[in-house]
């Protein structure tokens, strides 16, 4: 319980602070879902991008990258990164929203 709270905090600090509100995050999850389908593949793709961000791996269109530039490489460790990704998926995944 405590760890998730802590993690959530970390998430806010590491991710939310730049990526801003839910809307953008949702869009990104939508795009990942459309391209990668399953949970494992979505998470793997996100991880690989964050580990080594470049134009080819980006889920967002070229125009967007041109405007905002490529994100800089994450300084987090692998395990920390994966935890972040897990939280992200938990909060925003589309499957859970289907009823």
């Amino acid at each position: 319980m405590l760890s998730t709270l802590l993690m959530a905090n970390e998430f806010d600090k590491n991710c939310l602070v730049c990526h801003g509100d839910d809307f953008k995050f949702s869009i990104i999850m939508q795009k990942y879902t459309l391209k990668y389908s399953s949970k494992q593949r979505i998470k793997k793709a996100i991880f690989e991008y964050l580990r080594e961000p470049n134009l080819h791996k980006s889920i967002l269109p070229y125009e967007y990258i041109k405007r905002f530039g490529i994100k800089e490489k994450s300084t987090l460790s692998d395990s920390e990164l994966n935890s972040m990704i897990d939280i992200y998926y938990e909060k925003y995944n589309i499957q859970a929203k289907i009823y």
Binding site: S26, T33, L34, Y36, R41, Q95, I98
Partner: protein, 382 residues
Amino acid sequence: MYSGEKKSVLYVLGLYLSSTLILIIVLFASYYFHEKSQIELSEKEILRSYTLEIQKALLNLSDESNNDYKYPRFENFKSAIYDIDQNLIFSTMDVIIDNFSKEYFSDEKYSYLITPIKPYFLGTAYIIVQKQKKDIFSLSKLLFLASISIIVTVITSYFLVNLLLKPLRENIKLLDNFIKDTTHELNTPITTILANIESLDTSKCDEKSLKKLQRIKIASNSISNLYEDLAYLLLNHKTSLQNQDLNLSDLLKQRVEYFLYISSLKNLKFVLDIEKDIIFFGDKKKLERLMDNLLSNAIKYTNKSTSIHITLNSTSLSIRDEGVGMSQDELKDIFIRYKRFDKTQGGFGLGYSIIKSIADEYNIKIDITSQLNQGTKVTLSW
């Protein structure tokens, strides 16, 4: 039923039945498979249209950014969506599908269609739709119909075969009756002739007349033999068997003496090597028949002024002539009744068939060796 007839009946029956049966099976089987594939096709079409509905709905949903997404539900079918790793995303069906190898499949109640889609709307990589199965015909009904056809075929085949054989049967019956009647008619005059010849007072006859009488006697004996042969073949199953211990050696010598005059006409010599007192348990008349036929064959087909060698021991009897002989092909057909190879001599071709029939009755083995223009040797062993 005659023996030859049974074989031909079985052949015709077998051929007709098997060909008709194959036809029926092929027809019903192809109808069944055709119907099955037709059903499958129509089901697939319907399921495809359902899949399209789901796909459209998912596309519309994935364009929106909602807090939640209402899964498209339809009245006439159920569906489920799976991701690329075949994990279930959402389903309105009761069953979980784990085998994605077949595109279309069905169970007792439902038929299913699995369609892969891309891009993965709402993460969907596979759409599975399920509908109530449409069953227009039952396999059991088809099998019932097929059995009826088979039964009808069997019944008609019985009538067909009878129809086929009726004229044949009638002809054979006619012939057989004729032969039976004729040979029966022959009996009386033959007996009369022989009896009168025997009782003739020969003391008052001159030599010429005596010779003539001898010839008449021999000729009558020949006719009598022929009659006996025919009677044996036609009425064999009706006469009773009287088996007793016979002195084969004496019997053989008797028969040789019986043919002595005829053989002298061709200047033939009998070379006898007969062991004394060979006993054989059998019917006297039948064994007489057997020996008579062997001897008369030898006499008929040997060349003039040759010898006929006769050997008898406890296990075999052999007769060898030095006559025209037979080829290997003729040897094969020798036991077929009425078959003649050399029509120059008299007779009906009954000889060997009688020999074989009697030999078979007593489990006697027949061995015939022959060479063209050298002679024939017949060995009976027991």
